[in-house]
């Protein structure tokens, strides 16, 4: 039984990464209607950004948590301005192909310079060590990841669903022409939204840098799982993607305990089941 609690907690930790990443995807899909396949590469860039800040600029983890999402977010906005904006109104397939191509290029460039085995990034001193919870030894850093990402997820949800700015955003996706008539700069808002989604990916990257290796392909495996999360949660649903992210982390954790060989595939099995029963995802509305 103790082992089970431990696995549940470990599942939550992984779930926080899924939640942060799928949240970013959901924001981008909800507002821009773009299936952002470059998300994994941007997540990886966040981790590399933290690595560079530390090794080239002497800037530690805490500042990286703030700076890396901003830097990568700006990179994302440049991508949106120069490429993605031209795809507005076209079929989803174009956005998918473009972002998939971008992901391959970004990963290829990083791999060319850094190989595949990854670079070490230390856990910040304040979060070293661990505590004994009775049923398991919880590294402090992992506990921090769960709490911090929960806060970020809820804050993003609040921003989009409960504030005036969020209301503009949602209105702009429903009817951009009308929102423009009220004097709101819709294209700029869309650029900023893409920046926000990308920033969330970069933030997840910084969070994961001390746990996983900082390596060019770190986003490649992640992104496929995260897409499954988004599909299960319902494309574009903010709360849906947060809850599904955490829930799938837990389910995957339990699978690793009961039948580890299937831990790679359980998410996809669930995805198939959900699609068969409810094609719009658990919280999605019919398009």
């Amino acid at each position: 039984m103790q082992a089970l609690y431990a696995q549940l907690l470990v599942g939550l930790i992984n779930g926080s990464f899924y939640a942060l990443l799928s949240l970013g995807l959901a924001v981008i899909f909800g507002m821009l209607n773009i299936i952002n396949f470059a998300h994994g590469a941007l997540y990886m860039m966040g981790a590399f950004c933290a690595y560079f800040l530390l090794n080239l600029g002497g800037i530690g983890y805490w500042w990286a948590l703030l700076l890396a999402p901003i830097i990568v977010g700006i990179f994302g906005m440049v991508l949106e301005r120069t490429m993605l904006q031209w795809l507005a109104g076209l079929d989803h397939l174009y956005g998918l192909l473009l972002t998939f191509g971008l992901a391959l290029i970004i990963q290829g460039v990083f791999q060319n310079f850094f190989g595949s085995s990854g670079l070490p990034y230390a856990i910040p001193d304040q979060l070293r060590g661990g505590m004994n919870l009775g049923f398991m030894y919880l590294p402090v850093y992992r506990g921090w990841v769960v709490i911090f990402s929960l806060v970020v997820c809820l804050a993003t949800w609040f921003l989009i669903e409960r504030t005036r700015l969020g209301a503009y955003l949602r209105a702009a996706t429903e009817n951009p022409t009308l929102v423009r008539a009220f004097g709101i700069n819709v294209p700029r808002m869309i650029t900023l939204t893409y920046g926000l989604g990308v920033g969330l990916a970069a933030l997840a990257g910084v969070l994961s840098a001390p746990i996983n290796q900082v390596r060019p392909l770190m986003g490649e495996n992640m992104i496929i799982v995260v897409f499954a999360v988004v599909v299960i949660g319902g494309m574009g649903s903010i709360m849906g993607s947060i809850i599904t992210g955490f829930a799938l982390g837990v389910i995957e954790g339990l699978t690793k305990y009961f039948y580890p060989e299937a831990s790679n595939t359980v998410v996809f099995v669930l995805m198939v089941l959900v699609l068969l029963v409810k094609p719009t995802g658990l919280t999605g509305r019919a398009a």
């Binding site: 103790q2 082992a3 431990a6 696995q7 470990v10 599942g11 930790i13 992984n14 791999q111 060319n112 310079f113 850094f114 190989g115 595949s116 085995s117 990854g118 670079l119 070490p120 230390a122 856990i123 661990g130 398991m136 030894y137 590294p139 850093y141 992992r142 746990i211 996983n212 290796q213 390596r215 392909l217 770190m218 495996n221 992640m222 954790g253 690793k256 305990y257 580890p260 060989e261 831990s263 790679n264």
Partner: protein
């Protein structure tokens, strides 16, 4: 104008045909295929570095000056046996490749083994670990150069059991390699009075090991055997430190650890780990000289891993055999037999021999990862703690199930 063009075309064709017929008289052309994981989790320990090692072996062989024409091409098997075999088939059928080298990933390596045998090519495997290549699935066309699971189990594994690590829990990569390494290590553990109390199989290329490590932790085994490689091993070791496994008194057995892995874990966490390799760049003047030349040509300035060194040394021995034969007979078995008949001796692995089952035996070295304070440079990572002679480290011939030995 047009007729001139056609005439020159005809002339060109005639020349090519003539050149072709001259070549076949005493054929001195060789084509090498470096098949590896070029982009995934094993690409730093083999990958482009192995292709470079092959290139350097050609340059250092001196055969070009004797009129040989030797080319190397590379392929990415993506850790998938089906892709590996189809590349190998295409290489033999279309590209007329003579020798396939490297091929890390035991699953792919065993699949390619069959193709090379069928096409009567030469197979010099350096990257794969499974001892089956020279055991139950041995082939007259295969030389397994660098290391294997039997050797890893009988060096690192044995040393740990003798040091008191009597109960084991395995974290095993769920494919041919992990299974072979777990099997060979289990045999050593039980033969030395220890026992295996549990294990978990994880998918290849896993990024999060915390669930598996918690299971290992609660098993209370004294030793946690890592029957995995590359990125899987580095992640397991890093996360084991994070979850306090080593602080709790459990010992990690990194059964297979490469230079690039240690580099990527960082000395802080990796220090004190014991493991076995057959090559390290900083062994003697010859290995240092080679590694310096190699690192200069690597994009990230990394010295060679033992897999890349094995590609170089294996090919160098292959070239010696070709030189002795005087021409390329394009007959895999004939060349491999020649290779087996000559003792191996090269700058990187020292003296050794290729046994009838295709296993190259040479000294295996036990290393310990240095403490951060002991390291004098970015790649100064190991200190030598012992060595095991080749005939004790590798499978004794009387224990090998290879059919070639029963002739």
């Amino acid at each position: 104008m047009k007729s001139r063009f056609i005439a020159s075309l005809l002339l060109g064709t005639a020349l090519t045909v003539a050149a072709g017929s001259i070549a076949s008289a005493g054929d001195k052309t060789v084509k090498i295929g470096a098949l590896s994981d070029q982009s995934g989790l094993y690409s730093d320990l083999g990958g482009p570095g192995s292709t470079l090692a092959a290139q350097m072996a050609i340059e250092d062989s001196g055969l070009t000056a004797k009129g040989w024409k030797i080319d190397v091409i590379s392929g990415d098997h993506q850790n998938k046996p089906d892709i590996g075999t189809s590349i190998a088939r295409q290489w033999f059928d279309v590209e007329k490749v003579d020798v396939v080298v490297d091929v890390p990933n035991s699953g792919v390596a065993l699949a390619v083994n069959n193709v090379v045998k069928e096409k009567n090519g030469v197979y010099i495997n350096s990257g794969a670990a499974t001892s089956d290549l020279t055991n139950a699935q041995c082939s007259p066309n295969t030389v397994h150069w660098t290391y294997d699971t039997y050797m890893l189990a009988h060096t690192t594994g044995q040393a740990l059991v003798k040091a008191g690590g009597t109960s084991w829990f395995f974290l095993t990569a769920d494919y041919a390699f992990g299974a072979a390494l777990e099997r060979d290590t289990t045999a050593v553990v039980t033969a030395n009075g220890g026992k295996v109390i549990g294990g978990v199989k994880h998918p290849l290329n896993t990024s999060d090991f915390s669930s598996f490590l918690l299971q290992a932790q609660s098993s209370n085994a004294k030793v946690i055997g890592l029957a995995n490689a590359g990125g899987d091993t580095t992640n397991s070791i890093k996360q084991a430190a994070e979850f306090g496994l080593t602080k709790g008194g459990q010992k990690l057995a990194a059964l297979l650890l490469f230079l690039t892995d240690v580099k990527s874990i960082g000395l802080d966490i990796a220090q004190g780990l014991n493991f076995t390799e057959t090559f390290y760049w900083d062994m003697n003047d010859q290995t240092r000289a080679f590694s310096e030349r190699f690192a200069k040509r690597m994009k990230n300035g990394a010295p060679p891993t033992m897999v890349q060194a094995g590609v170089y040394a294996g090919l160098s021995h292959y070239f010696k055999a070709l030189d002795a034969l005087g021409e390329n007979p394009h007959d895999g078995i004939k060349i491999v037999d020649k290779m087996k008949s000559m003792p191996t001796d090269d700058a990187l692995f020292g003296k050794g021999e290729i046994q009838p089952n295709g296993r190259t035996i040479h000294t295996a070295y036990l290393f310990e990862v240095k403490k951060p304070a002991e390291s004098k440079g970015p790649w100064d990572l190991y200190k030598l703690v012992g060595s095991v002679p080749g005939d004790q480290a590798f499978t004794p011939l009387d224990k090998s199930a290879c059919a070639l030995l029963k002739k």
